[in-house]
């Protein structure tokens, strides 16, 4: 295993750098990932540490072997990050592009406020998955907890299992696809017709996420547009 301080000031491009978080700090790891000397990284012994692989802006591959803590892969641009384990609150929050794949489960607020890229959670995600999402695509292999896609503005959330209470509360223009049951819908979120273009985009998303489900098994949900559209007949009230 190459220790980061052995990589050298020359910034020679290494094929693969392995980082052990029992001997290297998260801050040192992230500094290396912000000015990468390699194309591929393996991170070992994360033990739930916070803010692993945050703020990347280069097209590197990062594999994290073990459970990661809060804000893993936050603000990601261009990088492809895989976590072989569970992740804490706010995985891939504010992601702009690239991809994040979680092989386990995710805690709250997965993909919060993310603008782009693809977040795949192979297990289940807890509460507020996709809160205020702004263009990211999120595919969850299992279930999502209550209040998911709260104030979701753009992007797509795909749930292969069940969704908890209050799905899509105060939603704007994100599209939600759920294969299982929905405990309840939030304010201004309604079921919508699955048209051909929705089946097509969902088929493409499932394939990118590596999920084998048939898009026809899903239902679509979105905004009733009663909350956030200004109603002209109310103009006299102002």
């Amino acid at each position: 295993m190459v220790a980061l301080n052995e990589v050298g000031a020359e910034k020679a491009v290494e094929e693969l750098v392995k980082v052990d978080l029992t001997t290297t700090s998260v801050r040192e790891l992230n500094a290396e990932l912000h000015a990468p000397t390699a194309r591929r990284y393996e991170v070992h012994n994360p033990r739930g540490a916070e803010a692993i692989a945050v703020g990347l802006h280069d097209a590197v591959d990062v594999e994290i072997h073990g459970p990661a803590g809060y804000y893993c892969a936050g603000m990601n641009m261009h990088a492809d990050i895989v976590v072989h384990g569970n992740v804490g609150t706010g995985v891939a929050e504010n992601m702009m592009s690239g991809s994040v794949r979680v092989k386990g489960d995710a805690s709250q607020s997965a993909g919060a406020t993310a603008h782009g890229g693809l977040l795949v959670i192979e297990g289940s995600a807890s509460m507020r998955c996709g809160i205020s999402m702004k263009g990211v695509d999120i595919v969850v292999g299992g279930d999502v907890g209550p209040m998911s896609a709260f104030m979701a503005q753009a992007g797509r959330l795909v749930v292969c299992g069940d969704a908890g209470d209050g799905l899509g509360d105060s939603i704007y223009e994100a599209r939600l696809y759920v294969r299982g049951s929905v405990a309840s819908l939030g304010a201004d979120c309604v079921e919508k017709e699955m048209r051909d273009e929705h089946v097509a985009e969902l088929t493409e998303l499932l394939a990118r996420a590596g999920m084998s489900h048939d898009a026809s098994e899903f239902r679509r949900f979105g905004s009733a547009r009663q909350l956030y559209h200004f109603a002209a007949h109310n103009s006299a009230a102002y």
């Binding site: 739930g48 569970n86 509460m127």
Partner: protein, 226 residues
């Protein structure tokens, strides 16, 4: 922000290890609560409480926590938001024998509940909001309620944000409010139930890689008995 940890041992063979397992857990929560810390440890002689201001590491060292044995423990690291930083304001709150409460969050109607408790002759010794919840649960239990029932009453009486871990001599129970903004994670193996605000407090526990990890749902009481 505050940090909570708890350990409920199912395997008696681990009892001599209670303190050794607990210290890394509470130290991991230092960043969530650096101003004071407290612990309640249960063994066959009863509940033992340590509360002080300062870093968890120093408090654990000063009180020899690592060498303590027992079958159950809770710990708390405090970042004070609404009352003073003193040992008395530190958690756990232990208003009746064998009951310990640790809290992450803030109650917005604690003054009203405090007044109602006073009508029943129950007075708080600090102005801390968490103490009110501890005394409320203590009153319910003294009135014959099971710990699980008493915690469900908290949902009816209290407004605010909370993740609560409450223990008695026989029970270990976790409850989060309806928004569940305050974090909590529970790990269970054949040997123990462990609870913490964040996973990394559990990362050093034996067998954690194979533990069943759950994030408690809002408004649901999770309880274990011995």
């Amino acid at each position: 922000m505050c940090g909570i940890v708890g350990l409920h041992l199912k395997n008696p063979a681990l009892q001599p290890e209670l303190g050794r397992l607990l210290v890394p857990m509470i130290e991991a929560m230092t960043s969530r609560g650096p101003d004071s810390a407290g612990l309640a440890l249960y063994d066959d002689e009863g509940m033992h409480v340590v509360k002080d201001v300062g870093l968890p590491r120093d408090i654990c060292a000063a009180h020899g926590i690592a060498s303590r044995s027992g079958y159950q423990a809770v710990g708390h690291t405090r970042m004070a938001t609404e009352s003073a930083i003193t040992p008395e304001h530190a958690h756990p709150f232990t208003p009746v024998p064998d009951l310990a409460l640790v809290h992450n969050g803030s109650f917005s109607n604690h003054a009203s509940v405090r007044r109602n408790l006073a009508f029943d002759g129950i007075t708080c010794t600090t102005d801390n909001d968490s103490e009110v919840a501890a005394r409320f649960i203590g009153r319910e239990i003294a009135g014959g309620a099971d710990l699980e029932d008493a915690m469900r009453m908290v949902l009816k009486e209290f407004d605010g944000f909370f993740t609560l871990l409450v223990t008695t001599a026989t029970q270990f129970a976790v409850l989060r409010d309806s928004f569940a903004c305050k974090p909590a994670v529970i790990a269970e193996t054949a040997d123990y139930v462990a609870m913490a605000s964040e996973y990394h407090a559990l990362a050093e526990l034996p067998g954690i890689a194979d533990a069943r990890i759950v994030e408690p749902e809002p408004e649901r009481v999770y309880a274990w008995s011995r």
